[in-house]
Chain length 451, copies 2
């Protein structure tokens, strides 16, 4: 990218192109294939993985396993890097999300509702893990959607049983942590189970995080990560929601066996299993946000990575970002212009109208109303998967000029906002961001730019 | 205040006391009397007013005028500073907001609905202004509520006429800018009118801002500030809301006279009147926010003045602040701990429940839910007037421990939030901030502290 010495003198169209470039490069940094290629490098026999180095001459075989919507291109990257050294492998991806590979089998399966192919693929992975010994290396490739895509119930429990208890928990109002605690205790793979199956082989787990904050034990239910929850927690949750009588009998008897100690607990922090495990986040909202900030800094802007944990109703969150833009313009706080404030996370929209839009477009629309007349200011919302709500746009660009331009075309921004119709508003103004499917997902980015 | 070298080792009770001290000192900085004393200093005959100096020996008389809920203590400060040099003065304050003075008359009047005493006081002020000449100095003291408290309709228009048109505009859905445009063109004082009445006397206008962003022309409708709106704008607004037929006849004929040029326009930017006018914001949200940040910095914390323009639904805005706290804890962005992020503005609450609370307490409650378990973290919402919603609390303190402590007492934070009952939630936990009435109002402060 060209340098950016006099940000304030950039003409408006150059500014838009500049902002789009920031986003494009950030998306490239978290592209599943690119992300793996950035973190893993083979030099001779030395495999560099983040801050660690593996001497591949020490390992007899390399297996690849994993799951997730974006895992096929991650496999392609590993096959490129390891160039014929992979012995075998299988990963589960969503139907339609396959990609050509040389060695590793891509097993397409059901998502978000797991099906028998999820189980079949997971069984193949388990067989590979169990065959793996101390002199083998297991590379685990995890991306969003992995939880549904790698299902391996303990013996005696069927996929239908798991689905029944999951549905019952959802209907009872259990929160996501409670759901995960129960699921991890009804799986041979989740909650560190995969690392245990692979032990004593060395495991390298590469994760592309689609979860706000990238908590390792939540991404794909943490197959290679210590689990802090217990059978007792899982049982107490069913008790809390009065599901002990309604849950399938094999589920209850499995949890009771765990409680009684006749079933092994999920592996905990400090378990020797994890001395053989390296977990690396190769792509995340934070990585994308930092990429935006780094580029803006290199281009001469003052930058602030505000938070990658932004949640809340999009139109309200927008007011905070608009408030930050106003402060930059009026006082040079929190950073002086030319300023780039980057945030990430995932907002929500309570739909009350009948329009078309997405959380990022709605954030941009609400921001546009609030920054009306604020010169040199741009607020951008962008879904990193390229797919904001049920639209073909990734997001939209709001500027201090948006409302004026809308009025010129006879559009009332407040009416569009009231109708949740951000898509048509920005389409009319030609201010949508259209990327097409990016094949990645590290939730959303919000940019506040004051030139 | 004691220095703060090892922020992270402060025990929890000391941290709370520290945070409360930050707020107390910030409130002191915007106390109406303190604020005037901080900005104005008399040294011999030299009156220092912000960055300007007036030689009082050049002036024959000093008059004091003004209006607003907090104006009586501002008068006290000026009487202290000028120590007998004031010739005469009158200010309008809300009923019950008077204070003992020596020279300047405190005229209590109706607020928020203006009454005849508002008009009577304003007429006295106008008489003083008209008597003031080039060798006189006029000190104008403005605080929140000033718009309703200083009403001086042009001849032919009654207070009742003004009230009728204001009510009609409100019912028609006119926004605050439209309301102000009309009001400024139906007043001899608003929209720079007071500066014009005083001309050619020198005017020093000291303002305590209760408006987000402190726009000079909005505070008390800008009696000493250039007005950018016109009679044509005002007329067009009545037309837009189809009020030309319904407005009182004297209102319409006054606006038409203005349109025809037979009535002077409000004074504009560049008018020589304003060469004789110094406008100084002596107290504002920004001043209070900066005071918090300066103290925290002096105490060894990293500080960020995020924005003094924060608006939006309190519980949603809270999620952004919680997101910032999480980022500080997890990555040291936007600033590393010990960290103090300060924001100001005014959030809103759409009440759906039947509880008791205020926007600041509700922000704190929603934040508490989001920062559950986050060690060393505190999020505080505080109304600077000491009066958050219809409660006797100014705000509340949320910590990473709030939810745990609530559960211990059998309180469900989500239920209290759903019922808009933040007051009783924090009262039970003894986490309310109670200041009593502070006699000032620079809207709200939000603090994010990570020790």
């Amino acid at each position: 990218m060209a340098s950016f010495p006099s940000a304030r003198s950039l003409p408006s169209q150059r500014r838009r192109a500049f902002a789009i470039d920031l986003l494009k490069n950030a998306l490239r940094a978290v592209d599943p294939k690119e992300a793996v290629l950035r973190w893993i490098r083979l030099v001779g026999d030395q495999l560099h993985v983040a801050d660690r180095v593996y001497d591949l001459s020490r390992y007899r075989r390399i297996f690849v396993v994993g799951c997730g919507k974006a895992t096929a291109p991650m496999v392609q990257a590993m096959e490129e890097i390891l160039d014929g050294r992979i012995s075998a492998g299988v990963v589960n991806v969503k139907y339609g999300f396959g990609a050509p590979t040389r060695i590793v089998e891509i097993n397409e399966a059901g998502h978000p509702i797991p099906d028998e192919r999820s189980v079949a693929g997971a069984q193949k992975m388990a067989a590979l893990m169990e065959a793996a010994g101390e002199d083998d290396l297991v590379i685990c490739l995890i991306s969003g959607g992995g939880s549904a895509l790698m299902v391996l119930p303990p013996s005696g429990i069927t996929l239908a049983d798991k689905r029944k208890i999951t549905d019952a928990l959802l209907r009872s109002g259990a929160n996501i942590n409670e759901m995960n605690t129960v699921r991890k205790h009804l799986s041979r793979i989740k909650g560190g189970g995969l690392a245990r199956l692979a032990y004593p082989a060395q495991v390298i787990s590469l994760m592309l995080s689609d979860v706000v904050g990238s908590p390792l034990d939540i991404i794909a239910s943490g197959p290679t990560v210590p689990d802090s929850s217990t059978f007792a927690d899982a049982y107490a949750i069913l008790e809390r929601y009065a599901l002990l009588g309604k849950a399938p009998a094999p589920v209850i008897s499995h949890l009771r066996a765990g409680l009684a100690g006749s079933m092994p607990e999920t592996p905990k922090e400090g378990d020797p299993i994890f001395e053989h495990t390296q977990n690396v986040i190769v792509g995340s909202n934070e990585i994308a946000a930092r990429c935006v900030a780094d580029q803006a800094k290199a281009a001469g802007m003052n930058t602030l990575l505000l938070s990658t944990y932004v949640e809340g109703e999009a139109r309200e969150v927008a007011q905070v970002f608009a408030g930050i833009a106003k402060e930059i313009v009026h006082s040079g706080n929190p950073i002086p212009r030319p300023a780039c404030v980057v945030a990430g996370g995932e907002t929500t929209v309570v739909v009350r109208g009948f329009g078309t839009g997405g959380r990022n477009q709605e954030l941009a629309l609400a921001a546009a109303i609030r920054i009306e007349g604020l010169d040199d200011t741009m607020i951008i919302g962008c879904a990193t998967d390229g797919n904001d709500g049920p639209t073909d746009a990734a997001g939209a660009i709001a500027t201090g000029d948006t409302v004026r331009r809308a009025h010129e075309r006879g559009l009332d921004p407040r009416k569009y906002l009231a109708d949740n119709d951000s898509y048509h508003f920005f389409k009319e103004l030609d201010d949508l961001i259209i990327t097409g499917p990016t094949n990645t997902n590290v939730v959303d980015l919000t940019l506040v730019l004051v030139f």
